[in-house]
């Protein structure tokens, strides 16, 4: 391979500004991945599923039932990008409730990060970096609206169950099912 055909050499002779941008991106990305092992904003870390997941004897997940015990269901796996709005947000809301109605990030930002970085905190606008009472209290009514949009009918009751199941002989066996929150 001829040296002049190398990508960075072509950039050097053709576009020096681009060369600087590209080199900066490479350095930042490699540093983030290999040294800090953290994300380069806004997302560029490629470590998904790189840590071994421990084997589990049982699996837990939340189940939503609305109105007259109707199940909130996603029949197709390609609905995943939409499903996240129902499952992730609900998981997080339950985590907040279990954390004395406090966003776990509030503990971190208010009690840890802000103290360690008081000089940066002073420079930042007075905007919450975590969910506070307003956001937490608004969640059930948002969930109702979003659910109504999905199922195309009005919702007057939402119950959240925690299911625990296990795989047995290629099938699933329910270990327990408990109502953990009445959202509406």
């Amino acid at each position: 391979m001829k040296v002049e055909n190398l990508y960075l050499v072509k950039l050097f002779y053709g576009q020096k500004i681009l060369l600087v941008v590209v080199l900066l991106f490479i350095v930042l990305n490699l540093t983030a991945n290999f040294i800090f092992r953290s994300e380069q904003t806004p997302i560029f870390k490629w470590d998904l599923y790189s840590t071994a997941m421990p084997a589990q004897s049982s699996y837990s997940f939340l189940e939503v039932r609305y109105n007259q015990n109707q199940l909130l269901k996603f029949p197709h796996t390609w609905q995943e990008p939409q499903k996240l709005f129902f499952t992730n947000t609900l998981d997080y809301f339950i985590a907040i409730k279990r954390n004395n109605n406090t966003d776990p990030y509030k503990n971190y930002f208010a009690n840890d990060w802000s103290r360690r970085h008081a000089y940066i905190k002073k420079l930042l606008p007075d905007v919450n970096l975590y969910n506070d009472t307003t956001e937490i209290n608004a969640f059930p009514s948002w969930y109702k609206r979003y659910l109504e949009q999905y199922i195309q009918q009005s919702v007057w009751r939402i119950d959240v169950y925690e299911k625990k199941v296990e795989f047995i002989n290629g099938g699933l066996n329910e270990i327990s099912s408990s109502l953990i929150y009445k959202l509406l």
């Binding site: 576009q15 806004p42 997302i43 490629w46 599923y49 790189s50 997940f61 709005f85 979003y146 795989f167």
Partner: protein
């Protein structure tokens, strides 16, 4: 008018990329996950990520999430500018505007699903080469994008083999499938997909071997750093990787496949332009 070969290539690639993005924006629209469908969500997560902090501090959520007019306007602009990029692929103003709008959409989506997810990561980046005016600069950036795509998969391979330990953990395949699909199988016991999943769960060696194979496929992308000779074949690796991880692990990264266009060879373009000459039609001088 005669269009230079490089400009021709740029027009066709731009259109393919933006058509792909438009289709997936429509997909998201019908899934009710474009901003006007979010109905003013309340919970959010910023993490320790300065882009998300800047987004929050800028006050943008108040304009495009909590404002009924703003949110409709945002969605309209997102679709309109993507469409304009297809029609006028050489008009930077449209491309740059769409690039920013898409970045804002992706950050908003991640903020309000309370998880900084990866599915839109490649689409966030792939518009960047089209931001420049000169075709030579575009070509250099597009080539850079090709290297970056190879880097992503190579990096993923390195993480799984050397920094993490997935590659050396035989049961990762079956555990991931069970963990990610347990809810689907429980709620949809009678579907064809559930029967397929049950078969594979009953034969875990297939899933575990498949997991190792996918990691090796990621590692094979390193070839792209040294030669372009195999681009026609490298193109299929991300397709296999993302279809497999989607079917067997419910990891929906199909939107990443916009990246396959970086591996298109001259021969591929000749075939495409011969079949769809409309892709070459330039409205720049209209």
């Amino acid at each position: 008018m005669i269009v230079a070969p490089l400009e021709k290539e740029r027009i066709v690639i731009s259109r393919l990329v933006f058509i792909f993005m438009f289709i997936f924006l429509l997909f998201r629209f019908f899934l009710h996950i474009t901003l006007s469908h979010l109905l003013q969500p309340s919970l959010f997560i910023l993490n320790l990520d300065f882009s998300y902090w800047a987004y929050k501090f800028s006050g943008l959520p108040n304009l495009i999430i909590y404002n009924n007019t703003g949110v409709v306007l945002f969605d309209s602009c997102l679709f309109l500018f993507c469409f304009l990029c297809i029609v006028f692929p050489l008009k930077q103003i449209f491309v740059v505007s769409f690039g920013f709008l898409f970045l804002i959409y992706a950050i908003t989506y991640n903020t309000f699903i309370v998880h900084h997810a990866h599915p839109l990561a490649v689409m966030m980046l792939i518009t960047l080469p089209f931001w420049v005016k000169r075709n030579q600069s575009w070509k250099l950036l597009w080539e850079g994008m090709r290297y970056y795509i190879c880097y992503i998969y190579t990096m993923s391979f390195i993480w799984k083999v050397f920094l993490g330990n997935t590659f050396w953990y035989w049961d990762q395949g079956i555990i991931t499938t069970k963990y990610n699909l347990v809810e689907y199988i429980y709620h949809n016991p009678a579907t064809a997909m559930t029967s397929i999943y049950k078969f594979f769960i009953a034969h875990p060696q297939l899933l575990n071997a498949g997991n190792i194979l996918i990691i090796l496929f990621e590692g094979l992308m390193v070839i792209g750093f040294f030669t372009k000779r195999y681009d026609r074949y490298l193109l299929f690796l991300p397709v296999i990787i993302h279809l497999s991880t989607y079917f067997f692990s419910d990891v929906f990264f199909i939107e990443w496949l916009v990246l396959i266009f970086v591996f298109f060879t001259k021969k591929d373009f000749d075939i495409i332009t011969k079949r769809f000459p409309v892709l070459l039609k330039s409205f720049r001088h209209a």
